[in-house]
């Protein structure tokens, strides 16, 4: 039994890593193509059919570049930082249920009872990579990028944490698979028309859920340093931000780490608000392994749609000024999330089902 569990977990970890890393590469490609299309260009379309092999060429370029270390950096930490940027983003995926069941095995690596807290805890470690990169580079721009990122991440972690509380008030569990199960039974958090749509209580609850969803999504944007919150790496102000002094694959790790963080963030949004791997009228994995695969596919399709939104927003909105960013985080989203908790609590207490 124990060995069975270990083997299955290892297989799941390797498979999920393969899927996510492949997805990461193609998110970079999608980012380049979509940004190009938005700007009336074409984007990379030369390597392979429609440029589909571009990620391979990119990876080869990153790996073959000269891997130099500037003389003025703090060597050990300079090497450590890129790894620290990549690892938390991947680790978070361990608790996300990415499918129903396949041959009776639940498609989640570690279904722990503090799922969402685990996500926040590991995500909050992501800031170390950036801070250490900024500090060990021993140069002004990376340092400023690191400092900015620290305060930005801490500020937005608050709204992030507060925004999900209504969801857990409703469900009474922190386990992410419970969140998905609830949504299968009662309809998606922000889409009450899925499931028993005639229930007015659900429509009432959809209001705080919608607010939660918006605040949470925006906070995820800030946490992953995506535009309009990409101040830690604002090219126009900080050259390249915290990775100014990095080259070749070490830069690549930062770059790809950002995309993995995006995928992880989208996966969590999907799990919390968009029904996880569930889609109306599609049965779960207990009806055969084909449906299990379909469920996994649905999950990653939802993630892909959210990734498209990430990219779309990036190529539309301008960057915030730093004080605006802080104001928005502390004065606006923090308050909204707090008021939203009260709203959800009142609805739950005084308008029982």
């Amino acid at each position: 039994m124990d060995y069975f569990f270990l083997t299955i977990s290892l297989v799941k970890i390797v498979a999920l890593l393969a899927v996510v890393l492949g997805m990461m590469n193609y998110t970079v490609y999608a980012e380049r193509r979509i940004s190009a299309l938005i700007q009336d260009r074409l984007g990379p379309n030369r390597v392979g059919p429609a440029g589909l092999f571009q990620p391979i060429a990119d990876a080869a370029k990153f790996l073959l570049k000269e891997d130099f270390t500037p003389g003025h950096v703090n060597k050990f930490y300079y090497w450590l930082a890129p790894c620290l940027a990549m690892i938390p983003a991947i680790t978070t995926l361990a608790v996300v249920p990415f499918g129903s069941t396949l041959f009776g095995v639940p498609m989640v690596i570690a279904d722990i009872n503090v799922g969402v807290l685990f996500v926040f805890a590991i995500a909050s470690l992501g800031v170390y990579g950036i801070v250490i990169a900024g500090w060990s580079s021993n140069s002004k721009y990376p340092f400023l990028g690191g400092v900015r990122s620290t305060s930005q991440m801490i500020s937005y972690e608050l709204s992030l944490g507060l925004a999900v509380i209504p969801v857990f008030l409703l469900i009474g569990q922190l386990r992410l698979s419970e969140v998905v199960r609830y949504q299968i039974e009662h309809g998606w958090m922000i889409a009450p028309f899925v499931g028993d749509w005639a229930n007015p209580h659900k429509w009432l609850l959809a209001i705080p859920m919608m607010i939660s969803f918006v605040v949470f999504t925006i906070a995820i944007f800030a946490e992953t340093n995506r535009l309009p919150f990409d101040l830690p790496e604002a090219e126009t102000e900080l050259v390249g931000g915290y990775h100014t002094e990095y080259g070749s694959m070490k830069f690549g790790l930062f770059f790809l780490g950002e995309y993995v963080a995006m995928i992880t963030g989208s996966a969590i949004i999907v799990t919390l608000f968009l029904g996880g791997w569930h889609f109306p009228s599609i049965p779960d994995g207990s009806h055969g392994w084909g449906w299990g695969l379909v469920n996994i596919f649905i999950f990653f399709s939802k993630v892909a749609v959210l990734l498209f939104v990430f990219i779309w927003v990036r190529w539309t909105l301008p960057r915030f000024r730093y004080d605006q960013l802080m104001r928005l985080g502390w004065v606006f989203f923090f308050e909204i999330a707090l008021a939203n908790i009260f709203l959800a609590a009142i609805i739950l207490a005084y308008f029982p089902q």
Partner: protein, 176 residues
């Protein structure tokens, strides 16, 4: 004098930013859609499609030496272009035309004439300064090479690019 730019007063719906954000997203998705379905067409697939036929007459490509209708290299190695060239891309070694030649009265010809195309900034000053109408900026723009030496155009290369220039003043043909 300091100028104070007054910021416009925003009403509450403008301060919410959401309508503006939505409008912006609508614009970008429209561009995305049009591009995806090939309704916008602005990009030229470079090596297959070239814009050579659209190139204007005054295009400043690679500088090159020209011959006139009689096939004479027009440069007289006065070295004015070498002198004016801002990045000092031109190097000329003049030679003397032997006494028996038909154009012996010209006295000098470029024994060697190198333009370092890594340095050249396509400013066109050489063409402008030349008193002999001997150097012109032609329409060649794809100048490539694998080494630095490849990127130096010598006299043969320059004459090959330049070709024959018709309709220039042929003053040396009449003068005694």
């Amino acid at each position: 004098m300091a100028i104070t730019v007054s910021r416009p007063k925003l009403n509450w719906s403008e301060r919410l930013y959401l309508p503006a954000i939505a409008a912006g997203m609508a614009i970008t998705i429209k561009h995305f859609k049009n591009m995806l379905f090939g309704r916008t067409k602005v990009t030229m697939q470079y090596p297959e499609e070239k814009w050579d036929s659209h190139m204007p007459e005054h295009y400043r490509g690679a500088p090159a030496l020209v011959r006139d209708d009689t096939g004479r290299v027009r440069c007289v190695a006065c070295q004015l272009c070498e002198f004016i060239c801002p990045p000092r891309a031109i190097k000329i070694i003049p030679g003397e035309i032997p006494a028996g030649d038909r154009f012996a009265k010209v006295e000098k010809f470029p024994h060697e004439f190198d333009i370092d195309m890594i340095r050249c900034i396509y400013c066109g000053l050489c063409e402008e300064v030349c008193p002999e109408q001997a150097i012109y900026l032609r329409k060649d723009y794809a100048i490539t090479g694998f080494t630095r030496a490849d990127m130096v155009h010598n006299k043969e290369k320059l004459l090959e690019i330049g070709g024959v220039m018709h309709g220039v003043v042929l003053k040396w043909n009449e003068k005694k």
